[in-house]
């Protein structure tokens, strides 16, 4: 549904600042119906990247295809038409203060030349859909941040787009509003069969809603994939960012061996514990880590300290490996920090 091919965006030099390469050769593919995320630190080019999808920024080179249409080949007036099939939600909502909630939802329909009665009807339906049917006549100033973003989502959906772009849509919201807005996004995605591309710097957001994600750094994609696959990796930049490598609890006992275990749906920690404790007769202590529900599955990373008769440990680990479990032994000399910088 969305395809970026080797897209570059260079902002020309201004005064003393040299030219800025905001997006540096990104290729990205989002399937129809997918909820895709782009994560990265601030300044990594995420916001520019999302603006390249609906050509709010024209790429310096490379091509952008949305719903089979090569947008980068279209003249400006055709791009404007194509944008109606691409809804967009912003960090600061960008509702018009001069209009009511309903008036804001009607705005894109007005631009598309839809008649007044039809606009009213559609705005009412959409505000009901986002749970704000009662507040149709409220002004943005009378709404909370979460409510404003709901109105903005209703507005983005007004012209029945196939694609929804979210630029840090929850970054200005508190935790409760973030959760409810994310829940709403997931719901409209399934109810309306949308393809969603979400930009965020918060890993929690990716874990809460995305099917897939790419990690952007300095304008380049450094890692990516379906979350259910990324999270089964023992180590990769995106996996480490999503599930920070556990740090050994300083209070835990010393001696023995440290094991790093990647917990997934198919290889829960019980399998590992069964082998270590049941078959090898070792004592196991959890030295660090966490397990959480991501993309509907249970994923996590644990750091286990095993003590006892370690002679058969290597053989046991090999057997686990063969069974598809990602587990490895942390080298004795402080190798715990492997996969560092994980809290991005």
């Amino acid at each position: 549904m969305i395809e970026l091919t080797d897209v570059r965006k260079v902002f020309p030099a201004r005064r003393r600042a040299g030219e800025v390469v905001a997006v540096d050769g990104v290729s990205l593919r989002v399937q129809a119906g997918e909820f895709a995320g782009v994560v990265g630190p601030s300044g990594s080019g995420k916001s520019t990247l999302v603006r390249l999808v609906n050509l709010l920024e024209r790429p310096t080179s490379g091509s952008v295809t949305v719903d089979g249409q090569v947008l980068t080949d279209l003249p400006d007036d055709r791009v404007r038409e194509a944008r109606r099939a691409i809804g967009m939600v912003f960090q600061h909502f960008e509702l018009l203060d001069s209009r009511t909630a309903a008036g804001n939802v009607e705005h894109p329909l007005e631009l598309a030349g839809v008649g007044r009665a039809e606009r009213r009807r559609r705005a009412t339906d959409l505000l009901d859909l986002v749970g704000l049917g009662e507040r149709a006549e409220a002004r943005p100033a009378q709404l909370s941040g979460g409510q404003k973003q709901r109105v903005a989502i209703a507005r983005a959906l007004a012209a029945r787009p196939k694609v929804l772009l979210c630029d840090e849509a929850t970054s200005a919201l508190d935790q409760a509003s973030t959760a409810s807005v994310l829940e709403l996004l997931r719901r409209v995605r399934s109810e309306l069969g949308l393809t969603v591309l979400l930009i965020t710097h918060e890993m929690a957001v990716v874990k809460a809603v995305c099917d897939s994600a790419v990690l952007l750094e300095r304008g380049r994609v450094v890692d990516g994939g379906r979350l259910s696959e990324v999270l089964t990796r023992g180590h990769s930049p995106l996996a480490d960012a999503l599930l920070p490598a556990p740090v050994a609890d300083a209070g835990a006992g010393h001696g023995g061996a440290l094991l790093r275990v990647t917990v997934t749906d198919r290889t829960p920690e019980t399998v590992v514990l069964q082998t270590l404790i049941g078959e090898l007769g070792l004592a196991v202590e959890v030295a660090g880590g966490s397990v959480e529900t991501v993309a509907g599955g249970r994923y996590g990373r644990l750091l286990l300290r095993v003590t006892g008769d370690l002679d058969r440990l290597e053989a046991g680990l090999r057997a686990l490996h063969d069974g598809g479990v990602v587990v490895d032994r942390v080298p004795a000399h402080g190798g715990v920090a492997a996969g560092s910088g994980a809290t991005r």
């Binding site: 609906n54 709010l56 404007r80 038409e81 194509a82 944008r83 109606r84 691409i86 809804g87 967009m88 912003f90 600061h92 960008e94 509702l95 018009l96 203060d97 001069s98 209009r99 705005h107 894109p108 007005e110 631009l111 598309a112 002004r139 943005p140 100033a141 507005r155 012209a159 772009l165």
Partner: protein, 219 residues
Amino acid sequence: MSDWGRVYPQLFEATGETLYMVGVAALLTVLLGVPLGVLLTVTAPGGLAPRPLLNRALGLVVNLGRALPFIILLVLVAPVTRGIVGTTIGSTAAIVPLTLGAIPFLARLVETSLREVASGKVEAALSMGARRRDVVRTVLLPEARPSLVAGVTVTVVALISYSAMAGAVGGGGLGDFAIRFGYQQFRTDITLLTVVLLLVIVQLLQWAGDRWARRLAHV
């Protein structure tokens, strides 16, 4: 001072002339100044339709208009006035320089107001497939409306002050009245009365403008 019976009708007439000149000039100023302000905004670098050369040229003309003392403008545009009104004398003739003097003033205020509309709102409209003129019509002007009303109020008040000089071209009005009946005939009481009358008009205008702007502001 038993001549008040003679003064009042004259004062009444002068008030009418001021309101007429200022009213018509204000209307024309809004009709021409707002579009000029829009043009200044959208052609600016980083604007909706950047045209750096046009923008600089317009900026120069607008600044020239604001730099000229009104009395000089009055004389300079006399040929234009004659072309439009047919004469350079009288209230109607005074409307031309008044309007020409106020347009650049209002245009700058409009530009400032429009610039204050968050660029994210413009971007949101563009993302919905808005054309540039849609952005001006449905985003910039409505969102800036409270501030635009305030700008128009300031401009109308400035027009009242400019109009005092219309007497120089026989335009009449309160300013002219104050000079001819008050100052030149050493009648401080008449001068004061006129000033009070002008103050009342300005106060009323400012009050109405503020109220209107507040009603439009939904923030």
